[in-house]
Symmetry: C2
Subunit: 417 residues, 2 copies
């Protein structure tokens, strides 16, 4: 009988696993709780009104339409029953499997302070991106309505918490919006006076990079107009601002880029997890004692792998492909192989003509790194049309400083008394 392969989640890990099974004599079922694969590295552009949502998201079933052995289902897994080899969905439906790949990724973590979440959205989904876009654009709108100088200053203060890749991108782009995009559009204040503060708990920005590149990145951020606060711990977030120990920062817009935790489905397996909720897997990505179940991407902790596999898109892709190859090996009666991450380099963008990149021992920054980042991201965007539209949007934005998606919609988009 045809083996049933179930893949939970269609981010980079799940999608690349599904595609690598293209020619396999198996029945693939891909389950996702959205209808689209999201190109997460460019999500911050949706949040900062540079790109429309469809430019960074493709319907999963369009991507897999030509793969005849794949069925795409819209749904959410509630739990995995390892003993019965089945996945239970949100409405009680059961998906039996012979082989399972878990690829449901991570979500924002507020380190036990879930009460901060409503005041400091993170950036994981398109909904998050729309929420941030709405908050940022409406903050300037409220500032134009506000007559009290202190209250206006709070509307014009933007705090980004966490100086990893996403935090750095967000802060750099917010500064560009305030300094360039909105120039001349307000009558009661100058948007260039808006303040963007990037708060980081460690002593440098982009901690996964080398200290020299962290320093380059910090200088580029400051040149763009970002205030960088290092070694500062957030002790509270509420509607009106951020508390940093004894110090208070009045700010109506706070964005959380400080930490993630693994998707809760991992906890339903009943196997050991690490502190971030990730499933501790064997070197071949299998769940201990269950070679038929593999975990890939941000949900996996490959304990034996040194240095640790980073939580980035290329790692998820490689793990997804590797899990598929292990299934093909099993079908052919060959043993599963251990996963080995291949580091092709790391890139982080900061803003216009500002980025840093490490390719092994080669470190670059500034305009050159930015062009490398741009080329890589356009290249990896799935779907020809998306690439073309993104290119046009960016070329337009580069020359005009405009941003094409400055549209506020969704809940909370209307004025409230």
């Amino acid at each position: 009988m045809t083996q049933r392969v179930v893949i939970l989640g269609c981010g980079f890990g799940g999608l690349f696993a599904a595609r690598a099974l293209h020619n396999a004599p198996v029945a693939v079922t891909v389950l996702d709780r959205t209808n689209h694969h999201l190109f997460q590295p460019l999500l911050y552009q949706v949040a900062t009104a540079g790109l429309a949502a469809p430019a960074v998201a493709e319907p999963i079933r369009r991507i897999l339409a030509g793969q005849k052995n794949a069925t795409v289902l819209y749904g959410e897994a509630q739990r995995v029953d390892l003993a019965a080899k089945k996945v239970v969905l949100e409405d009680g439906e059961e998906l039996p499997y012979d082989r399972l790949i878990l690829a449901t990724g991570a979500r924002d973590s507020y380190f036990g302070h879930d009460d901060w979440a409503p005041h400091a959205p993170g950036l994981k989904t398109l909904e998050d991106a729309f929420d941030i876009r709405r908050r940022v654009l409406l903050a300037f709108e409220h500032a134009e309505r506000e007559t009290d100088p202190a209250k206006r200053a709070a509307w014009l203060t933007f705090v980004v918490i966490g100086a990893g890749a996403t935090g750095v991108e967000m802060a750099g782009t917010l500064a560009e919006i305030a300094r360039h995009t909105l120039k001349g559009e307000f009558r009661r204040f100058d948007p260039r006076n808006a303040r963007v503060v990037l708060v980081e708990g460690t002593d440098r920005v982009l901690p996964p990079y080398t200290p020299d590149l962290s320093e380059k990145a910090r200088r580029q951020l400051e040149r763009l107009g970002v205030t960088v606060w290092l070694g500062r711990r957030v002790t509270g977030i509420d509607e009106g601002g951020v508390q940093l120990g004894g110090e208070r920062l009045e700010a109506r817009t706070v964005i959380w880029c400080a930490g993630v935790t693994a998707s809760p489905i991992g906890a339903t397996l009943g196997v050991p997890l690490d502190r971030a909720g990730r499933v501790i897997v064997e070197p071949d990505l299998a769940v201990p004692g269950h070679p038929e179940v593999q975990v890939v991407g941000d949900l996996a902790q490959v304990a034996a792998h040194q240095p640790p596999v980073p939580g980035v898109a290329p790692a998820a892709k490689q793990m997804g492909r590797h899990a598929a190859r292990n299934i093909l090996a099993a079908l052919a009666g060959r043993p599963a192989q251990p996963f080995r991450y291949r580091d092709y380099g790391q890139l982080a963008t900061i803003g216009r003509s500002a980025a840093v990149a490490m390719f092994g021992k080669v470190h670059i920054w500034g305009w050159l790194a930015w062009v490398a980042w741009l080329t890589a991201h356009i290249y990896f965007l799935i779907g020809f049309r998306n690439r073309l539209v993104v290119l046009i949007d960016w070329a337009w934005a580069y020359w005009t400083f405009e941003r094409s998606a400055r549209i506020v919609i969704g809940p909370g988009a209307r004025p409230e008394s």
Copy 2:
């Protein structure tokens, strides 16, 4: 002292009024409860996943950035105090005026059946468009999960109520999505079996057109795969379908294109309204007894005008410009002029290569009318970049039958048990 001109609403009427005051020695304040001007004639394309939201919406303050006498405010008017010459906003703030232009338009009307609204969204705002997009795309997703044939058929039945221009566009495009766009993407049913039913209370589609064009439109709709039901009255709408007298249509997706009512701000004036809630204005668009207050667009009923001014974008633009000219006349000590609508023709699109158009006595249909429609709509889209992106999207869609914005987001976009 500089005259204060307040404009409520920045649709076609309000925007064209504001722009026509470009060189006037007045202080213009434009108030809108969204941050964008919406190109409503193409909103159905956002609802049917053909265009991303930013392609049909531009930030109001970007459009008016260069107009130094204009201030844009994000807010919602609660009421107009004619005696005190001021507008009261949602938070109690007051906007005093010397001249006022009311241009807040219309919203959906369920003819006293407001309980139908949650089951049959209309198409007025970007939020509405996202709501319809979500319902339509998720209906196909639910059909793929559903195993009961009758329940699946209900997910695959789409009912559009009202065969005016919007209803005809929606029905034609939904049929195209089912027949072409989604082809080959589902494993458990054939999307070409989806049923699109267009229900109209009168005896023909596009009632404002001549009977010969209505008949052409009906035939084109049926060729695209739409089932057209004429002379049928809806007597009930619930979560599971539509009631038409004794007959029941099981359908999980119902779209309301059957009627509008004027924005509620008109009722706060304390002057006579017509049955649709529109303010009955003098021939020069002024509120009776208040020459300093004019009403334009869908909120106005120019009682003396024969034939009646249609509720279309060109009429709103002309009224907006006319109201501005009357203000300039008053500043120059000249009397206000009566408004006269100039009909340059009417165009309605139905689907791929299908449309009807009337230019005076010249009637065209089919491919030729569709090209005329396309040209006019691209031309009138505000902002060069939008036009370019729309052109690319449409050229792409025309050749591939794909739709570039098939992304489901927002509340209700996640599976529910």
